[in-house]
Symmetry: C2
């Protein structure tokens, strides 16, 4: 007989568009959900009110939160000091500069609160309940508009000297590569969503034949990694080439990080990771070419498991450790 859940936490996935909430139990299962619009909660006080309303929708009055839950975890999109529970700045949310969010939540709900950046929260979730649960040393990477990362060291999220570690998207893969405010040759400049779409678009404009053109009905601005993946699965050469290049860039950064910190596994999530085999097969091949066998044989590359729920489950897991 399997044991039932013994405790629950509220996970808040604070996104640029919407704020998703869920009551998650210690088996990693979502028991209740709610959501509100980020725009409706521009300032922290309004955000707290909206969280309170969402809790009510999930059957939790303000006074009962404390009895039903062990804590509240928040994953926020930006620069966050986990130790202080302090939000320095949220890239895509106005009005959130220097907010002592932990203090505000604890005052309102009289329950321990934990604030981390969104990718760290997702990494914590994958490691507690997803593809990383068997590892104590793992790296979590999200592939989307940008490339984010979270590190698990000795079973805990590793934050570095000033809470800013894990910026895999800014690791350099090219000595004289693309310049950005974060440096030169950063991984994100090669494998971000838009970069992949642009690469396909440019090749088509140069005259390369591709199934992609049909898939978007000739509207090249509609090209997305998802469309490219569909074409790749049907054997389209251009599409396969785009994924091979993305895989090579990822493998370069992964090889560097494996040589540096030697994790047991790298767990890859986010939209682009949904492409599946067309990304992961060339990724394994390039990685094999870029690592000595003693390192290659000792690391696993895995697809993330929690999908769109990684944010809420991960945020909740911050409060359940």
């Amino acid at each position: 007989m399997t044991q039932g859940p013994s405790k629950r936490a509220l996970g808040i996935d604070f996104g640029g568009t919407s704020v998703k909430l869920a009551v998650v139990n210690d088996l990693g299962e979502i028991e209740k959900r709610a959501v509100f619009s980020t725009a409706e909660s521009a300032i922290p006080a309004a955000w707290l009110d909206a969280v309170e309303v969402a809790c009510k929708e999930m059957g939790l009055e303000r006074e009962s939160v404390r009895d039903a839950l062990v804590g509240i975890g928040v994953g926020a999109p930006g620069f966050v000091d986990y130790t202080a529970g302090h939000v320095h700045d949220l890239t895509n949310v106005r009005g959130w500069k220097d907010v002592q969010l932990r203090g505000l939540i604890e005052e309102r709900f009289r329950i321990p609160a934990y604030i981390d950046n969104d990718v760290n929260a997702m990494a914590a979730g994958e490691c507690a309940f997803g593809a990383g649960r068997d590892y104590s040393h793992a790296v979590f990477v999200t592939l989307g508009t940008g490339v984010g990362g979270g590190l698990l060291v000795d079973g805990r999220i590793f934050r570095g000297a000033h809470s800013m570690a894990g910026e895999i998207g800014h690791m350099s893969v090219q000595l004289d590569g693309v310049k950005s405010p974060q440096g030169i040759g950063g991984l994100e400049q090669y494998v971000g969503n838009r970069r992949l779409a642009d690469k396909a678009k440019r090749a088509i404009k140069r005259g390369t034949k591709s199934l992609i053109v049909d898939l978007v009905d000739g509207d090249l601005n509609a090209i997305s990694p998802k469309v490219i993946a569909t074409a790749a699965r049907k054997g389209d050469e251009l599409a396969l080439g785009v994924f091979d290049f993305a895989a090579k860039c990822l493998a370069s950064a992964f090889a560097s990080l494996i040589y540096l910190i030697q994790p047991q596994a790298i767990i890859v999530g986010g939209g682009v990771a949904q492409s599946g085999k067309v990304l992961f097969d060339p990724l394994q091949a390039h990685l094999k070419e870029r690592l000595s066998p003693v390192f290659y044989e000792r690391v696993e590359i895995k697809m993330a498991k929690l999908g769109n729920d990684a944010g809420v489950i991960g945020s909740a897991s911050l409060a359940m450790r």
Copy 2:
């Protein structure tokens, strides 16, 4: 009044040519030294005998080692499992495959022994007694024939999932770069001793004028990083160019590792680091260009302090923690 030393350990710097030994106190001072030739101690039993003889030279009979010292630390050049105290394989020393060195030392001297790879031992020494003593998150890099690395995380040497972390020399700085058994574009392929000398040599053979030619009396095979540094200090353009290129490659790998694990400091030692300003000035400049200000302002690049004694002091420090 400063406090005197309260304990001592034996540090053994096991090199490919010679084995250096020193009694080191807990202020990081060397009190006695000895040395024997690596060739004279091909097999572990002969090596242990030679250590015993060296101890006698330093006034320590086999029976008194236990009373005089808290432990013995060994830094060995190769693949070592620190936790098991086991030497898997030493790259440049024949006859050392699968040796349970900790067990052998503890049996002979009846005192705790600690075995680590040489770069980790040096990193431990710099962090305990050298340029890293103020940091709990630091990266130690040695620049020589190869490029080695050791990581300090939360005040302890970090070894990764299988005791092999810290291989900074194999981090990739170039997507389609130089191939080696360790991968593609590895840092060491660009900034190793011989690579720097070859770079200067090739330019001179192509007809570039340089002070270097005079410094080696026309013998291009005598070119070394030391000679190039001397020329650079006198303003020689070719020599300055060689160091600028090395600095750019180092800065690329350093930027990647800073984004990934955000140490407080990177401590650079080994022969090439002795070049001083001609290396460190362009290194700072390139690093500034390759990091966002919030990261650049939060990391220090320092020259190692222990020099040739880093090995014995570091090995001894393993036994004093």
